[in-house]
Subunit: 317 residues, 2 copies
């Protein structure tokens, strides 16, 4: 396969699929395996609840919490007003942590489909709560798993950050989807799953949800999980759709854990901004490469694995 310069379904994202570069030699040792940290001193483990800011919500079973939500102690944004200038505004908003399991050694891949569905509902509730503040213009839900993917603590957790603006990447994706609809009369992500779900980049589908490796994948093993129905935000999902998304997500994260040595990954939800029409989807991005000078300077991302091969990996039983 020659090197291909591919473009995304509807955004202006460009990637080079360069299989040969995956074979280049290196002077450097491989990243050490994820250090799971000192369980006893873990801020997110049961018994250490007082080391986090005051709890916002919890789910209990048998008198013990199983999911816990609290503000980030070292937030990127704060609900504090202040002076603005033409080139600066206070980074106003809420930065919360969702700890999805009390078990320091588990990840979301180890939860049951029902438990993952419950967690998706908690994300929904927190996003909806943040939008109650009229200054909030967008709430972003994401997970960093492992040090290489930017996590600072090992105990699995998801972050929700709300912002006083619609952030650049969200505004661009919403605008690109609107442009596609104007030109083709259809939603780019409805079109994408219909094209991909049963093809060479398809990973899994049921009646409600689809999982596939996107045509212009930026990373080895990149996978997208989405509802088939044109759903824009978490709050619009039906219970059966939540169950299907949970099943698709468990499949992807399970493969990364069991088939790829618990590889570090970033996962982020693409949710429509208020009033927008973007088809919601989750992007799971294993962190197996470093975006460097080429990516910084060009905006084009080099990926050494074709998504067709990634889909094969996920489809293996």
């Amino acid at each position: 396969m020659e090197n291909e310069l591919r473009r995304d379904y509807f955004t202006d994202r460009q990637v080079i699929i360069a299989v040969g570069r995956g074979r280049r030699p290196t002077d450097f040792k491989h990243e050490a395996a994820m250090d799971s940290g000192d369980v006893k001193g873990c801020f997110f483990c049961p018994g250490n609840e007082s080391s986090t800011p005051p709890e916002i919500m919890r789910v209990e079973e048998g008198g013990k919490w199983v999911v816990r939500v609290f503000p980030n102690k070292f937030p990127a944004v704060k609900p504090e007003r202040g002076e603005s200038t033409p080139e600066m505004m206070p980074a106003y908003g809420y930065h919360e942590i969702v700890v999805e399991t009390p078990d320091h050694t588990k990840t979301v891949a180890d939860l049951s489909v029902e438990e993952i569905g419950r967690v998706l509902k908690i994300y929904t509730a927190r996003v909806d709560a943040m939008y109650k503040d009229p200054i909030v213009k967008y709430a972003l839900v994401f997970k960093n798993h492992g040090k290489a993917a930017g996590a600072s603590l090992a105990h699995t957790h998801t972050q929700i950050v709300s912002l006083p603006i619609i952030p650049k990447a969200v505004a661009e994706e919403e605008a690109a989807a609107a442009k596609y609809r104007m030109e083709k009369g259809s939603c780019p992500l409805c079109d994408a799953w219909k094209r991909e779900a049963s093809g060479p980049r398809g990973i899994w589908e049921d009646g409600n949800a689809a999982v596939f490796a996107p045509y212009a994948s930026r990373n080895p093993f990149e996978a997208w999980v989405l509802p088939k129905r044109h759903v824009r935000v978490l709050g619009e999902l039906r219970p059966d759709e939540i169950a299907s998304l949970a099943q698709g997500l468990k499949l992807v994260l399970g493969k990364l854990k069991d088939g790829l040595s618990d590889t570090p990954y970033n996962m982020h939800f693409h949710l429509a901004p208020p009033g927008g029409d973007l088809h919601m989807h989750l992007e799971v991005m294993p962190k197996l490469s470093t975006w460097a000078g080429f990516e910084l300077g060009s905006g084009i991302i080099i990926n050494t694995m074709p998504p067709e091969k990634a889909a094969e990996f996920y489809r293996q039983t």
Copy 2:
């Protein structure tokens, strides 16, 4: 200092300067220091010239090479035509390596100002040579230093990649500069250095060149180096401007080496595309943080160090 959401001088880049997040605890061990590799087996060291593809050019002193240019053995692009589709074209172009010193233990920071100037002229010659191919629409010059910054080999080297399109990041920056000029009647980078060079974000200047930490820095210790004159591409630089840029660059890279334990960094040249009017500049980006789920999902970058503090570091003698 509260958390600030800052925007760039002229692009739509957004960063959050969040000092408090720099104090968050971590479960993970620090990155091991850069492994300088097995000198004996280094593909880029003298004696191993046959392990690279055939040489394109060299500079010799006393019968030995001091700078060497050859094609990348594992290229991201190749000068091979092929079929295109509406969403894919062959990644056509040239991918070259410039090894700036035969000494495995040296970096560009260790070269003299004259030697760095010579290297800048070699980049110029190779970029100009690539543009002789009419399929080439842009040539990108960049360096990855250290494993964390995406280098696969330790021996210092710069890469030049030409592409069959003007890449997304370059097209966006050129368009944003044109918009700024339409609105303000001036060049955004001429305005930026005039504002910054002698202020709290200023690092160094002489009659020809300026170095400063940009207002919306994405990384701790980010620094920009540029000619004061409105020069668009390397080939337009006068010899005295090359000497000044070399001096500014040596200052920045020397500080990163001696004052920051030879920290990994990416460096990339922002050169105007053919026919464009972008004011050329170099961006040096130390790799001291990981862009993770937040950055991927929002396009906004969190930086835990204000550029005002970075500039203080560089100004210390």
